[in-house]
């Protein structure tokens, strides 16, 4: 079984992102970048499938600027066998990313695509579903458990009301939720080995897809800030405030 794992370079989840002073976009100057946390979970799941003998090859792929090579190397250090960078301008839209990934699917013919349910920058939660639509393949989103059984996958999904299990025919697209697994850290020897693994580069303009942006960012602002509250001294005072000041209970 061959697995394709699309990943994304995003701002590290600990960074508090702020708008640029002219409010034209977010300020990403000199901020720490990382692999999107949901993508790390996708890589981990693929690596576990390889370790258990289910998968034979894992290909990491990303759509982004050449700086994204850093995140592909991380994926290689975590256990992916080779990587593909589809070089594009900064921040392509999910629809463009999905179209580019569909082209890679056509070239590689993987049996399974595992990717994060959302990237923590745009919080869009779209790429996996869009890729499924373009390829006319089944989708199993927000996965908390993945079991491969022959030519099908049983996937437990985190939904608002609880858990749902569906069965999808392979090839299929699976998007990861938080509790699918706990990703490992790359070991130093594996980081060294990853430097020697194959990392191919393609240009998005050579894929024969429409890469035009459909949306424009008009402005980026801070959300309304909450005014600082008060510290109460006791449960009695808290109950009094909630009853008589906030009238919330």
């Amino acid at each position: 079984m061959k697995i394709l794992v699309p990943i994304k370079r995003v701002v590290d989840y600990n960074v508090k992102v702020r708008p640029l002073s002219d409010n034209s976009n977010v300020d990403l100057n000199n901020v720490k970048m990382a692999v999107n946390p949901f993508c790390e979970i996708a890589v981990e799941e693929a690596v576990r499938l390889k370790e258990s003998g289910t998968a034979t090859e894992i290909i990491a792929v990303t759509v982004g600027t050449s700086a994204s090579q850093e995140q592909l190397r991380t994926a290689l250090a975590l256990g992916c066998d080779r990587a593909i960078l589809i070089e594009s301008e900064e921040n392509p839209e999910p629809l463009v990313i999905a179209k580019a990934l569909a082209k890679i699917f056509d070239e590689e013919n993987p049996d399974l695509i595992i990717l994060g349910k959302q990237a923590i920058d745009g919080d869009n939660n779209q790429t996996g579903q869009m890729l499924s639509a373009i390829l006319d393949l089944p989708q199993a989103t927000f996965a908390s458990k993945l079991v491969i059984e022959g030519q099908t996958a049983n996937v437990t999904r985190e939904i608002d009301g609880g858990l749902q299990t569906i069965k999808v025919n392979l090839p299929a697209i699976v998007t990861t939720d938080l509790r699918l697994n706990e990703p490992r850290y790359a070991s130093l020897p594996n980081i060294m080995k990853a430097k020697k693994k194959e990392l191919a580069t393609k240009n998005i303009n050579d894929l024969g897809i429409d890469t035009s942006a459909r949306t424009e960012i008009i402005s980026v602002e801070l959300p309304p800030q909450r005014e600082a509250g008060i510290k109460v001294e006791s449960v009695d005072q808290l109950v009094d405030k909630l009853k008589n000041e906030a009238k919330a209970i």
């Binding site: 939660n125 790429t127 089944p138 989103t141 608002d160 749902q164 919330a248 209970i249």
Partner: protein, 308 residues
Amino acid sequence: MSILVIAEHDNSSIRPSTLNTIAAAKLLGDDIHLFVATNNSELPNSASTIENISKVIASVDDTLEHQLPEALAPMIKEVATSYSHVLAPATTFGKNLMPRASALLDSQQISDISGVIDQDTFKRPIYAGSCIATVKSNDSIKLITVRATAFDPVQLSGGSADVESFDSIVSNDKSEFVSEEIAKSDRPELTAADVIISGGRGMQSGDNFHLLETIADKLGAAVGASRAAVDAGFVPNDYQVGQTGKIVAPNLYIAVGISGAIQHLAGMKDSKVIVAINKDEDAPIFQVADYGLVADLFNALPELADKI
């Protein structure tokens, strides 16, 4: 042009998130149609009483019981061509379905809008709500998911929409429903609750959540949790409030033993009144709390249960 809203429901009733989505649709146009795909032939009729909608487009078929996106997205693609906007709630239902329909229509979806500026321009939170982006869409059919807490719901009754049937049912041989574990509770749902009391890692165990439940039952509140508490196995995933869990905005949110990571704040900081109970006086949760109590929750919660 008319606006199409995709109804979220459980085949027996329309979910409240649909009513918030119709409220957002009202800001885009007056002629709002509701698409109901279900196995229950009675549901479209009961949906026709929702206020502010002029038409219910009903797709009724046994195969639509679980509304899997492999069947539903192509149907939406066919219906959507006569609309300027297609809206669904940004719940796991809408998040799963809408991008698939959007790609079929070659449209770049706008996710999780929290405001409508005009027909083409929307506000939406990005980076876990650290920033609010104003985004303009240039697609001719705009697919949008709606943050329910940002729009006050329309009423379930008072309307009298026509019901029209849509019979181009798409068969799906790619995926099938296997099973579901839906949490049953007598307490209100998190996303619809007026009061929520949530626990974090500081609760130390799932058993200790009974301390929250006692208070929840007195206040008619829902019980939620931070990601840390869900990851630790204290409570199931459907309790999770935050960037990747549920987005809530109750009148009163009580955060207990929750430090207040930005990912949790993203899910609750639009609550009207926030109370934090934490023994760490430097916990970031206190920066958004209207009332903070620095205390050991194992002392404070039983006392609070007695005094409310």
